[in-house]
């Protein structure tokens, strides 16, 4: 549950799904499954492109409004990455099961919470992308995402992958996602901040999500997600093609 440990992931863990992945980072563990392209139900059918259906399920309690909100955020982002035009009238179904969230030993949190929790978004997004890759769903590009918090004082003003206690103290919390073309795919912030602060956050997040391969490693702003994604996939592909 430490702040910036290296993420862990495993691909194609569910034998009966077209694609699946688990992703664990900063206290969050998410299991993701992808089925598709499959037949879309009447109401989801789109004549020119595939319907991307995202279902987010909390670890405990029934999904509520905030899960719907998370779903809509992810749906709009993933539809950008998937080549939806390749599968008209089809459905690509992504189920994201939250298995663990970082615990805060200093409060007894309520089970059902209406307010959305940003920090889970990166874990969900990463898991979804890994699962999509495992399902070999054709995609335009990949993406990576992270959380940054602006905390009042302390060693660093910017905190990557803050733990719940930091979040309580934070002035503002930001979730950013970048495509593999270094474009800003998603930006969600809340709290109290200035454009300048956001700029700094942007820099830090970009550093993590799309660090150029050649870089000195002494300034550890956090994990190198793009590299992580690539190595994870290379291992998987190499294993799949063991016979070559």
């Amino acid at each position: 549950m430490a702040a910036s440990t290296e993420p862990e992931a495993a691909l194609s863990v569910l034998p009966r799904a077209d694609g699946s992945a688990t992703y664990a980072h900063a206290g969050y563990t998410v299991m993701g499954s992808v089925n598709g392209p499959i037949e879309a139900s009447r109401r989801d059918e789109h004549p020119y492109e595939a319907h991307v259906d995202v279902i987010v399920r909390p670890a405990a309690g029934v999904g509520g409004t905030r899960e719907r909100h998370l779903e809509s955020i992810l749906q709009s982002s993933l539809s950008q990455l998937i080549l939806v035009k390749n599968f008209p009238r089809q459905l690509i179904q992504i189920v994201l099961q939250i298995e663990a969230t970082p615990e805060n030993d200093y409060v007894n949190t309520k089970l059902v919470q209406a307010s959305l929790n940003f920090p889970v978004v990166p874990a969900l997004l990463q898991t979804a992308i890994l699962a999509l890759l495992s399902a070999a769903v054709p995609m335009r590009e990949t993406a990576a995402s992270t959380v940054v918090a602006v905390v009042p004082q302390g060693a660093k003003r910017l905190l990557v992958d803050p733990v719940p206690r930091d979040l309580e103290a934070a002035h503002s919390v930001h979730v950013l996602a970048f495509t593999s073309q270094d474009e800003l795919l998603l930006a969600e912030s809340e709290g109290d901040f200035t454009v300048k602060e956001w700029d700094e956050v942007y820099e830090a997040a970009k550093e993590i999500c799309c660090r150029p391969r050649t870089l000195d490693e002494e300034n550890d702003v956090g994990p190198d997600l793009r590299h992580f994604l690539r190595t994870t996939l290379e291992e998987k592909v190499a294993e799949d093609l063991y016979w070559k």
Partner: protein, 293 residues
């Protein structure tokens, strides 16, 4: 709504023929379970169970709430089994299928109505405040025999679970955070397990344990027997299907008892290992929380 396609005629015929020749597709004995795996999460009350390719995650959670008016001295205990499309695209969110209803009823009868959890111990302030214990069953992968797997996961999760410690002074309830006081286990009375038989043949003469999804689709009847290691039946349900000789059912029950005992031993072992593992970490944790104060 996408529907699960039935197995092909070839598969139906062959599986049956093989069973009549005493073979199963995966080479198992008729009364043999697939390899059983159980792993507990870092957090209390999380159990990840796998019977072969069937994977289920159960998570227990606790919350203070108001007791039901008609039973002011009891806590609230619920088992939620919502099957998501992760298990199979044939499951739609909040549209319960027969599979889902029967599963939740079986868990209800096996774990809740058999009094495995002492609900009176969940009462905090009579008629005002009590614990609401909830287990969420998440089917991650469905390759048959959801019932036995789910039941095992639920029992494992509940026995692993710790709820926040509380105190009541002068009618004022205090719920302590994990940092203030170590959480406490539930008061647990007995551990029931489900053992499900699948029947084949015109007279249901062939009986098989822990059927895979293919085998389940082809079976003509099934019977789930829930027992604990004390040899107490908590529930039996053979809900229709091809009739089976009464004597055969009695044999099934006695075999089921031995299986239940095996499960019980396995679970106790795993729990012991886990606590041993935690005590090391737990001690450090206490130190940490000390420093924090």
């Amino acid at each position: 709504m996408p529907r699960e396609i039935e197995p092909s005629l070839n598969e139906k015929q062959f599986v049956l023929q093989a069973l009549q020749e005493k073979f199963r597709l995966d080479g198992r004995q008729f009364d043999q379970y697939r390899p059983l795996e159980l792993t507990f999460g870092d957090q209390y009350g999380v159990a990840d169970v796998a019977f072969g390719k069937t994977k289920i995650l159960a998570k227990a959670s606790a919350e203070v709430t108001v007791p039901y008016a008609d039973r002011p001295l009891d806590g609230v205990f619920a088992i939620a089994t919502e099957l998501s499309p992760m298990a199979s695209p044939a499951f739609e969110v909040n549209r319960p299928t027969e599979t889902e209803v029967l599963l939740s009823r079986l868990l209800e009868k096996t774990v809740r109505r058999s009094g495995a959890l002492d609900t009176e111990s969940l009462c905090l302030v009579a008629g005002q405040k009590c614990w609401s214990i909830r287990v969420d069953v998440h089917v991650l992968s469905h390759d048959g025999n959801l019932i036995d797997t789910a039941c095992f996961a639920v029992v494992a999760a509940l026995r692993h679970f710790r709820k926040p410690d509380t105190s009541v002074e002068g009618g004022i309830l205090t719920v302590y955070t994990p940092a203030e006081r170590e959480p406490v286990p539930l008061s647990w009375l007995h551990s029931p397990f489900c053992v499900t038989w699948s029947f084949y043949g015109d007279r249901g003469e062939i009986a098989v344990l822990d059927a895979t999804w293919t085998e389940e689709q082809i079976r003509v009847a099934s019977c789930t027997i829930s027992l604990n290691r004390h040899g107490e039946i908590c529930q039996i349900s053979k809900l229709g299907g091809t009739p089976v000789e009464a004597v055969a059912l009695l044999q099934c029950t006695s075999i089921a008892l031995t299986k239940a005992k095996d499960f019980s031993v396995f679970l106790d072992k795993k729990l012991a290992e886990d606590t041993k593992k935690r005590n090391i970490g737990g001690f450090m944790a206490e130190l940490r929380s000390e420093n924090d104060r």
